[in-house]
């Protein structure tokens, strides 16, 4: 039973697959790296050989200018040092993947980040049977239950209806969250232009190139103040209270994040419309996935590992927390 620990080693900088000499999501440059998705706490520049989905490679190219990389489509894989690697969709953001590794008859899955709710901007999560399940636990506490997204999007429309002269400024992480919010606004029937902070533009363009249509997008910088009344603006969360926001006239600030479930968190950030929209699995998804997979062991990489660990203990599921660094909670919740 100690076999898995023997060939897979958790380190503070990432997960090391010994027989293959490959790191998964290393936080410092390594010779060989498998990258699950493009968020900065999983994808870093400067590695030697990189394996990732074509979308993740494109995102890394945009962010770090890295070109070297072997594209691996969902369901496909490669072999190295006797380990068979394959990538399977994680439903987190465009291109996000879980990594399945098979070695001497044992199957290990690393989720990276994942969610199981529908997302029009990426492929849905796939359940991959395994012996050892290495999972995230960003929202590993029972307070975190993400409501259906429809109701959250409706909050924006309700506010615009009540205050037609205002504009709604939504804080959304530039990779994934911003595009998902835009796509959900479109799905709910919003066909007016959506206004962007400069930092959101290139990633939205890349999504479009990769086949995710987002409708008409305009730059806030090119738009007169008056024209933005009654409009929806998307900016990185850090811009909500930044000097940048002064160019808008009396915006109502919203924030799309799973953390918005807790009132104090929303108040702390001065958010008037908290949108509980997350690209991570909530408590029910985390526990349900472990239940469905029924792995021999569950390892927890990052997040509220104490909560998920306790749940595993209560359900007599063998589990351990890996101390991973550089994966602190951020605005990508």
């Amino acid at each position: 039973m100690a076999k898995a620990k023997h060939w897979i080693e958790p380190h503070p900088q990432g997960i090391y697959v010994r027989p293959a000499d490959v790191w998964i999501d290393p936080s410092v440059p390594k010779e060989n790296a498998v990258v699950t998705h493009g968020h900065a706490d999983h994808a870093r520049g400067g590695h030697g050989d990189v394996w990732a989905t074509p979308e993740t490679l494109a995102i890394m190219g945009l962010r770090y200018g890295t070109e070297a990389g072997t594209p691996v489509a969902y369901g496909e894989g490669f072999e190295r040092g006797g380990v068979r690697f394959s990538l399977h969709s994680a439903g987190h953001v465009l291109g996000s993947a879980q990594v399945l590794m098979e070695y001497q008859g044992e199957r290990v899955v690393v989720t990276g980040d994942y969610k199981r709710r529908p997302d029009p901007t990426c492929a849905p999560f796939q359940l991959v049977p395994c012996d050892i399940f290495i999972t995230e636990a960003t929202f590993g506490l029972p307070v975190f239950r993400h409501p259906p997204i429809k109701g959250e999007i409706a909050k924006i429309f309700a506010r615009l209806e009540a205050e037609p002269d205002s504009s709604i400024l939504i804080g959304a992480y530039a990779l994934g969250k911003a595009q998902r919010v835009i796509a959900e606004l479109r799905r709910a029937g919003w066909d007016k232009p959506i206004y962007l902070h400069g930092a959101q533009v290139r990633m939205c363009e890349l999504y479009e190139e990769l086949g995710v249509s987002l409708g008409e997008l305009r730059l806030v910088m090119d738009t007169p103040k008056e024209e933005m009344r009654g409009q929806i603006i998307i900016a990185p969360p850090s811009a909500l209270t930044d000097k940048w926001s002064r160019r808008l006239s009396d915006p109502v600030t919203a924030m799309a994040s799973g953390w918005m479930r807790v009132r104090g968190r929303a108040r702390q950030r001065g958010v008037e419309i908290p949108l509980v929209i997350s690209d991570h699995a909530d408590w029910d998804e985390l526990t349900e996935t472990i239940r469905e997979l029924a792995p021999r062991e569950t390892w927890i990489t990052h997040g509220s590992e104490d909560g998920l660990l306790r749940w595993c203990e209560l359900h007599q599921i063998k589990a351990r927390a890996l101390a991973m660094v550089g994966r602190e909670e951020g605005d990508d919740g």
Partner: protein, 523 residues
């Protein structure tokens, strides 16, 4: 309950006062009796269900969720009621109903210690997460949604287009759910009869004195004491003590309430006896230790005995004196005060000066911890509610000043959310160390704010969440009313009403004041 829960949440997330007023007013107009009255009582913390305590709901959570998972969740959320609302399991297929607030209030009122857990649990089972939050806050108290009694009354007045003064008078005379109040305001019903109830009468307020001189034949002079303004009412066998905003603070000052046993209504300054004023009043700091307490220990009553220094008499027996001129009320007051318990009540003396020049000299010399300045009251003035011009003036003593060094800055709220507008500043110790002495967020113009914001951004050394530590390179001239000993700050000092008086770009930081200089200003 859902509508009420939505109101609570919108109040939590809204910072603008006008938007809060509008939200409450709309709710009051569109909601039926008695729910809207219960909601109003809940918002102003006027409901009490003794059988339901914070521990009740914490223990209850333990029946549905593993206590360790609850502990971890509570630690993350920081609030017991909210944690329970969020983690309470929603069984699949259970149909959620939407009980009225009245249903909830009746159920909670009927609860005793033994039945409370089951009653609360079955209510929680019937609701969604937002309603659960509203329910638990209503049951345990302490809404903390930034709604003072004053704001709620203003919203009520706005909702039904009635005078705020009338609302203030009637409000305290009635018990939740205030159906008579709504009937009167909404349909022009009969004004509720208040003759035997110890309700709150709105205070008469003053304007700052900005002229050069006043004729002291027409104006009487009194000290302006530095405590909190209170109204004590004894009518119909009941006694109440109200703060300036009309909040009932009787529970914090049982010594005053027990001692006030004559029919009447007085207006005065609540103070604590201390030794620093020759056996008279202690500083505001001493009083602060007694504010906001739900129960007061015997020890506290002994160590910090409270008393009221009386300014005015609004009613004596059943006589309403408010429309009589000040000098007549004063005469009645002078014969009323000796009938009261001398430990807890005394008369605010008139200041005897010959003319205005003599008064100016006297005010300049008055640096007493318990004196904020002087009041000038027109001898013919009736007692009118609110801030009416031409009758009463406050003439605060000149502020103190100190040159301090900006140390930290924090973002403001609302319109100021993108500006670093709250500044912590310090002075030098003998060893050349800077220690914080206060924090100010006013006193500057919009132009100066822009400049200060830019200064903070360009001189940031460290960031701690919303706070930035800045390079110690800017001197701020800070004005403040007084300065006291305080254990809260490392410097051992606390300023009262500090504000930024001037930005001293010209002054080198090592020429800023020393802590010892400030300490010498303690009066």
């Amino acid at each position: 309950m859902r509508r009420f829960a939505a109101l609570i949440d919108s109040l939590i997330y809204t910072r603008s006062r006008n938007a809060k007023l509008a939200a409450i007013a709309t709710y009051l107009r569109e909601t039926e009796d008695p729910d809207r009255g219960w909601a109003l009582a809940a918002l102003t913390d006027s409901l009490d269900f003794p059988a339901v305590k914070s521990a009740t709901i914490r223990n209850l959570a333990g029946t549905r969720i593993d206590p360790e998972l609850f502990r971890l969740s509570r630690h993350h959320v920081g609030d017991t009621a909210e944690t329970v609302a969020l983690v309470w399991p929603e069984a699949e297929g259970r149909v959620q109903s939407d009980p009225t607030i009245d249903d909830v209030v009746q159920a909670l009122s009927a609860a005793n210690r033994a039945t409370a857990p089951d009653i609360v649990a079955s209510l929680l089972d019937s609701m969604n997460s937002n309603s659960r939050y509203a329910l638990l806050k209503l049951a345990v108290g302490g809404m903390r949604v930034g709604v003072s009694a004053r704001l709620a009354k203003t919203a009520f007045a706005q909702a039904f287009d009635v005078a705020l003064d009338d609302v203030e008078e009637l409000w305290h005379a009635l018990d939740p759910p205030y159906e008579k109040l709504f009937a009167w305001a909404e349909q022009g019903g009969d004004r509720p009869d208040l003759s035997a109830t110890p309700f709150f009468r709105p205070f008469m307020l003053s304007h700052p004195f900005e002229g050069d001189s006043l004729d002291l034949d027409q104006y009487a002079v009194e000290w302006k004491w530095d405590g909190i303004r209170v109204q004590a009412v004894h009518l119909g066998g009941e006694t109440r003590l109200y703060s300036r905003g009309g909040d009932d603070i009787s529970a914090s000052f049982p010594d005053i309430v027990e001692a006030f046993d004559r029919d009447g209504v007085i207006d005065g300054e609540l103070l604590v006896r201390g030794t620093d004023q020759g056996g008279e009043a202690a500083s505001f700091n001493a009083l602060q230790k007694r504010l906001g307490r739900k129960t007061v220990s015997k020890k506290m009553r002994q160590e910090l005995p409270a008393f009221v220094r009386i300014y005015d008499l609004l009613m004596e027996g059943k006589d309403d004196l408010r429309l009589s001129p000040w000098h007549e009320r004063r005469e009645r007051l002078e014969s009323f005060v000796p009938k009261l318990h001398p430990d807890h009540f005394d008369l605010s003396a008139l200041v005897d000066v010959d003319d205005f020049e003599a008064l100016e000299a006297m005010r300049a010399g008055a640096r007493d911890a318990a004196i904020e300045g002087v009041m000038l009251k027109r001898r013919e003035s009736p007692y009118l509610s609110g801030r009416v011009t031409g009758h009463w003036y406050k003439w605060k003593r000149d502020p103190l000043n100190a040159d301090c060094v900006m140390m930290y800055a924090q973002r403001g709220n609302g319109r100021r959310a993108s500006f670093y507008s709250d500044y912590t500043f310090g002075c030098w110790t003998e060893d050349g160390e800077l220690l914080p002495v206060g924090k100010a967020y006013s006193g500057f113009t919009d132009e100066e704010l822009k400049w200060l914001d830019r200064f903070v951004r360009q001189n940031t050394l460290n960031r701690f969440g919303p706070v930035r530590e800045v390079k110690k390179s800017l001197v701020l001239e800070v004005a403040f009313d007084s300065i006291h000993e305080s254990g809260r700050h490392k410097s051992g000092l606390a300023m009262r009403f500090p504000r930024i008086h001037r930005i001293r770009k010209d002054k080198p930081v090592d020429e800023a004041d020393r802590i010892a200089t400030l300490r010498a200003m303690i009066s």
